[in-house]
């Protein structure tokens, strides 16, 4: 059974890490979760991002869900937002494509141009 005491341990560990590297968020991931996105598999896309973050221990990444973005024909749609860089929008995402984006874009800093459907604001 998970208890709040487990959380206390996690908090202590996380605070130690933050002292070492600062608490900055390097990349923000925004998963489109409108009705059409959900029908096309956005929940599995979200889940795969969360799994990859946990498995790879990525502590400087933030994931959020948002509503419709007017790109219904390319759902599921995901934005990657990095400070000082133009926003990158990936479309027609699947769990496998998410894994590739995590390795290439988030870990190695290279945009996966095959999956990009829009850039900029």
């Amino acid at each position: 059974m998970k208890t709040l005491a487990d959380l206390k341990k996690i908090r202590e560990k996380a605070q130690e890490e933050m002292k070492l590297r600062g608490g900055n968020v390097r990349i923000k991931i925004v998963v489109g979760m409108g009705t059409s996105g959900i029908a096309m598999g956005a929940r599995e896309v979200m889940k795969t991002f969360l799994e990859e973050i946990a498995n790879r221990n990525l502590t400087d990444v933030l994931v959020t869900q948002t509503g419709e973005k007017g790109l219904s024909s390319m759902e599921p749609v995901v934005d990657l937002i990095e400070e000082g860089k133009p926003k990158v929008t990936y479309g027609n995402m699947t769990p496998d494509k998410v894994k590739k984006v995590v390795v290439e874009h988030i870990v190695n800093g290279r945009t996966v141009s095959d999956y990009v459907v829009a850039t900029g604001n």
Binding site: L4, R43, L50, I53, Q65, G67
Partner: protein, 189 residues
């Protein structure tokens, strides 16, 4: 939508767009009453009676981003409930919030499966850190009641400034939900 959990996710997103700060989700499986009930209650901006009625019309949407003005989320959920001899009720008050109650006949052959409740809840909780979720799962079977309660406000208080996307926190929430879903036998519903 292939399962009830996907509809639930869609409804949660509606609540978030309605600026809800607290969302209560209840899933009640009652074998004796042959009923699967989903209740979603939010404290968002709410709807007046006209909007409430329009929301059940597939040719209405409040989404400005939409070029084609269709809104299928609520009408499809309603249709799927009614197809399994269930019912769909929505009540709202502008400025106070919205309550949605959806019933399915548990053993109806046309009822869609509950589906992956865990991934729906995990994504919503972590993806909307600004919203507090209160989740209750309850199963009544042969006179025995099993229940599970999960409250994200308590977790956030314990975590302080550590984000919900912190890897160990994702795992913590994932495992807690998994245990709760198992304990209330909501996996294969």
């Amino acid at each position: 939508m292939q399962d009830i959990s996907l509809h639930l996710l869609d409804i949660i997103e509606n609540s978030v767009r309605a600026q809800a700060k607290n969302i209560k989700i209840r899933v009640i499986r009652n074998v004796q009453k042959n009923r699967l009930r989903i209740i979603v209650e939010d404290d968002g901006i709410g709807m007046d009676s006209h909007t409430l009625e329009m929301a059940q019309n597939p040719f209405y949407t409040s989404k400005q981003e939409r070029e084609k003005k269709v809104g299928l989320g609520i009408p499809l959920f309603k249709q799927n409930a009614e197809l399994s001899n269930g019912c769909f009720k929505m009540a709202s008050e502008p400025g106070f919030g919205t309550v949605l109650t959806v019933d399915f006949e548990l053993d109806n052959i046309d009822r869609m499966p509950l589906g992956n409740l865990k991934d729906t809840l995990l994504g919503a909780i972590v993806g909307h850190a600004e919203v507090d979720f209160s989740i209750n799962l309850s199963a009544k079977e042969k006179g025995v009641e099993q229940s599970f309660h999960f409250d994200t406000a308590a977790i956030k208080e314990e975590l302080g400034d550590i984000p919900l996307t912190y890897p160990d926190v994702i795992e913590y929430i994932d495992q807690s939900l998994q245990e709760g879903i198992q304990n209330t036998n909501m996996e294969e519903v």
